[in-house]
Amino acid sequence: MGILKRIKRTILLLLAFVNILGHSSIALANELPYDTYNYNFYEDIVYTPAAYVPSRSISGTRLYYEGEPLGVFSNPQDICKTPAGEVVIADTGNHRVIILDKDMTKVIKVIKDFDNNNEKDTFQSPYGVCVSKKNELYIADTYNNRIVVLDMDFNLVKIIKDPTSEVLEEGYVFSPLKVSVDYADRIYCIAQNMFEGIMVFESNGQFIGFIGTIEVGISLWEKFWKRIATKEERSNQRLFIPTEFTGIDIDDDGFVYASNIDDSGVQAIRRLNPRGQDVIKKGANENLGGDLWTSGFSNYSGASQITDVVYREKGMYSLLDRRRGRIFTYDHEGNLLYIFGGLGTQAGTFVTPVAIENIGNTIIVLDSYRAEILTFRETRYGSLINQAVGLRYDGDETKAVELWKEVLKLDENNELAYVGIGKAYLTSGDYVNAIDYLRKGMSSEFYSIAFRRYRNEVLKENMSFLLTGTVLLIIVIVTGRRIYRNKKGIKKEEGLLNE
């Protein structure tokens, strides 16, 4: 028996050890190369579990195409995904476009040239790529000043160049940087030195106009200085030019998500409707600019510089910051869901992040300096939040409660989770619990709704007691006063009572 017991114990020990080893991948999550945090109601930093952890990095050196090594990417500038989930890379410095399969392990196609009316045509520094719903490949062929559209078999469909319009200056050189296509094949393009907004082209390539011009705000102080400056000084001053857009993505309904660099760190993302109006929703703190803590004087400080945006699903979108290498994810109400990512040279960090894309439950980021694609795997924490937010987006808040409760087990400080649960209680009419959770979630808006209803309920139930109580109190006070005065021998006031 003794030996048996000992063997059993050894096996158990071994199992435990294996278990520990098996969990070491989770333990690794604590050794992330970056901080994962979020901002609470007081706009303080709260550290959270990681929503995404680095999983792989893909460089050109380990990829083969038609038996030959692909070679290092050179200053790649954009990535996008096809409807089937394949990844398209604009390998800008090598003047080519590369298509990888879903797992990014195999090269499907390298496009270096295409057949332009029976002539071989090439690219010159293609900065942007995009694939439409119809599986057509749009390439912003920047230094050839055109957008090239290829079909599924990589044959030329059309070329868009030399936009002409009254609003464009004479001799305007069209250098497209980023391109995106909506469901109706309208083309949205960010062009170099084009401050008027995003250029929109009809599906036949006709330039129609701009959308989403960012207005320049001149403060009173700047106006004052302008007023007192001499002409010479004025000419030396910086011009008030609207910032350019940096990244673009289009959601399923045809709304354009466009990111820009906002030095004040307030709004770095716009959601433009077809008329070009910004219809993005802002959260409680009215901020869509990435980091809230940006003070300091180093290179590392300052407002986040959002270089790209990816619309994910269910109203969620992620912004890529090149200042601190962070990825910010917001939901459709403008709440900051989670933050991860960082600059550095370790695996899983960036040097110069330029483009972001979302494939299934991974987020991939293109780093132009490292010439690598870095992939980030969703953790349980991230997946719970994503699912819960998705359910809320669909209006299924009661179903989301279980998920939010799981989130709270992982992160007790998650205000969104408290609000999610509180809102479910609110709809079910359990105001006491709703008030409790919504207060923890610091949602003034929904807390107030719950509190007002609860207050009305309490008042309604106790109205008779309250009214009787008040009447009794008045009687007690009046008689008490009279008795007190009689005892003290104070005479009744003259006037009314004397009559």
């Binding site: 109601f41 007081y42 303080d44 207060r439 610091m442 003034s444 808006e445 807390y447 107030s448 709704i449 509190f451 007002r452 207050r455």
Partner: protein, 210 residues
């Protein structure tokens, strides 16, 4: 002890609140006030202020309760109180003010009563209000603060036997005096720390050499 905390003196605080002009007049002329009570009122005000920031509902309160340090706030309030009293005293001394330091301390201290009442009332009310009803909260606060400020003004006016315009002028000068005191205080602290570091370096030198 009874001299400062007699029932009469405590009752007189509320008389001053309801009849500021009269109340402050007798404080100056027949010693109806009490400095310890005034200081206690200032302490109470400071505590109420901290409690408001800790306990007021988050609908109206944007301060993280965990960051509130009531002790350091108490220190700050008392320091400000002392600065105001001394600043006002030093100005009014030169401007034919009749009030003694004691009277000024009482005048400012007793004016805390409306602050204390309104802040605590507002804190309690804040627990029963929802979004969009903040106006009640701020109304209570504003009324209390306005009443307190008027009391302070009348108090200074009465104890020094000033006209209104002269009171306002002295109050302005008081602020200037407070800034000068702070400035000189900072200079002094800086000087002291320099002297200290001088002697400390001498000490270090000696320790290393000998």
């Amino acid at each position: 002890m009874n001299k400062y905390f007699s029932k009469e003196k405590i009752k007189y605080v509320f008389y001053t609140v309801s009849h500021p002009v009269d109340g402050y007049y007798w404080i100056r002329h027949i010693d109806k006030g009490s400095v310890p009570i005034a200081i206690i009122l200032v302490v109470l005000f400071s505590l109420s202020f901290s409690f408001n920031r800790i306990f007021a509902s988050f609908v109206v309160n944007e301060i993280d309760p965990r960051t509130v340090d009531s002790l350091s706030e108490l220190g700050g309030v008392l320091l400000l109180y002392a600065l105001l009293c001394i600043g006002n005293w030093s100005v009014t001394c030169l401007m034919q003010g009749e009030g003694r330091l004691k009277d000024i301390a009482i005048a400012i201290g007793y004016a805390m009563v409306p602050f204390i009442i309104s802040i605590n009332l507002a804190t309690i009310v804040s627990l029963f209000i929802a979004d969009g009803e903040e106006a009640f909260y701020y109304l209570i606060l504003v009324v209390g603060i306005a009443y307190g400020l008027i009391m302070m003004l009348l108090g200074i006016m009465q104890v020094h036997n000033y006209s209104l315009s002269k009171t306002l002028l002295t109050l302005l000068l008081t602020l200037v005096a407070v800034f000068i005191i702070i400035f000189i205080g900072l200079l002094l602290v800086d000087l002291m720390s320099r002297i200290y570091s001088f002697f400390y370096s001498i000490y270090i030198e000696i320790v290393f050499r000998v």
